[in-house]
Amino acid sequence: MKTAKWWLSAALLIGGAADPLPAALFLGIESDLRASLSDLDGGEASLYSFGGSGRWVFSDPQGDRLTLFVRGEWAEDLEDDRLHEAYGEWKGPMGRWNIAAGRVALPWGLRTEWSPDRMPYRSPYEETRAPDSDTGLRLRGTVGAWDYGVALTQGYGMETPDSFPGPGNLTGRIGWTPGLDGDFTMGLSASEGTVPIAAHGHEDAMDSDDEDRTALALDATLHFGRGTYRLEGGARHPGDRWRGTLFGAADYAIGSRLTVQAAGQAYESEDSQRHRWGYIGLALPVKWMTLRGGYEYEKMDEEDHRVVVQLYSVWRWVR
């Protein structure tokens, strides 16, 4: 957290030196309530997440120039506070290059343009040690049909850094979107370096460990007819051997407001066991919230069958 604040302060100083003019302010607040009933865990309900984001865009006479962005949440009934992103980003002409400093989202797989975090099914990144953000520098941009991103970060994820500059992690993704409609996108991601084992950086010292690994992933997104289909396959090598993962998700509109959602993943864990889970459910926007619910099957050490209901609400404000 301290390092993220340091980087953001540096970005603010740089932005102040450029004497930009304010352009736009975007705020979003979201709330995620969930209840589930499972064979193994019984029934439970929680405020799964409450958080939001703010994006402040400054412009100069030549165009939009500096963006300050922050995104965080309180999770697990407000017990766990998570600062996902806090950075300043300097934009080059027409977004061909953008440099960010601070806690930045890592350019990786499907997460570059989509987040599974607010879906009622589990995130495919929970068990594959692909942190969604880390503190450091990021260069990204769009050139024609290609988009790219590369981040050089400390390797602590959302954990409190132990030292500076830290063990280090290099992450990059190159994406290709051949049509102007953006109906199909595919990308190749690679990462080399250290990542924290703890998913959100709040394990105690004994469990807070890290992993030095190489990781690769291939992702694809297709918008076709009334459906959106996502696929990501990858593997990581923590020093002994490769461990694979394959994830897929589909959303299909069966009515003007009703959407069928399906998702599933197969992956290999640390103990060389193969795990899998699958989900199918419905999503329905109702006034000021989205109601989602479905059935999830999971096979880890034991089988688990779970029914989950989610009330999700997001409020946005633009100035």
């Binding site: 165009g63 407000l78 000021w288 609400s313």
Partner: protein, 193 residues
């Protein structure tokens, strides 16, 4: 204690909402433009950069816009109007880009169009949609919007007429609203002494 506070806070967020122009995004037709630069470059290959401009919509102006457009602005579009100034190497405005969202048969239809310095449409691209009818994506339909000026907006109707679909009417209505918004909120404001 934290859990109790959290639950009560969530109920407040769910039940009451916030004032001052915010909007619940489930019913909101804010265009979440995922990769604007790619389309902007296609519309304005000579542009060096762009600037985001956000304009609040006062209530009397909102009424005027909706009366002229013969349709109501959707949730998320009623409080602020956003567009992009396209700039050349000297920072001069060479056109504008607007991203709009309208209600289709199976959810939102997101599209983007550009206008030249005389405020005539130079191109229109569909960004996201789930419609069954595909005619609204064809170049033969989209090209009918080229040359459409702010002055033509009020009278403009679905190019496919009675044989049009929910999607073609949505695009038409969205363009009409956006041009009238630009006229009321930008051009008329610039014309005032």
């Amino acid at each position: 204690m934290k859990r109790t506070i959290g639950w009560w806070f969530s109920f407040i967020v769910f039940g009451v909402g916030f004032g001052d122009g915010g909007a619940w995004a489930q019913e909101v037709y804010l265009c979440v433009w995922r990769n604007p630069e790619r389309t902007m470059t296609r519309l304005f290959p000579e542009a060096r950069d762009y600037r985001t401009v956000t304009v609040p919509i006062p209530a009397p102006v909102l009424s005027r816009i909706e009366a002229r457009a013969r349709g109501t602005l959707l949730p998320g579009q009623r409080e602020q109007y956003q567009y992009y100034e396209m700039l050349d190497g000297q920072g001069r405005v060479i056109g504008h880009t607007q991203a709009m969202t309208e209600k289709g048969e199976f959810g939102a239809i997101e599209f983007v169009f550009g206008t030249d310095p005389q405020h005539r449409i130079i191109g229109l691209y569909i960004q996201r949609q789930r419609e069954r009818d595909r005619r609204f994506r064809e170049a033969s339909f989209l090209d009918r919007f080229k040359g459409l000026a702010v002055a033509d907006a009020e009278a403009f109707s679905d190019p496919l007429g009675p044989s049009g679909s929910v999607a073609t009417r949505a695009i038409t209505e969205g363009v009409r609203k956006a041009l009238i918004e630009f006229d009321e909120l930008v051009l008329k404001k610039e014309a005032r002494p």
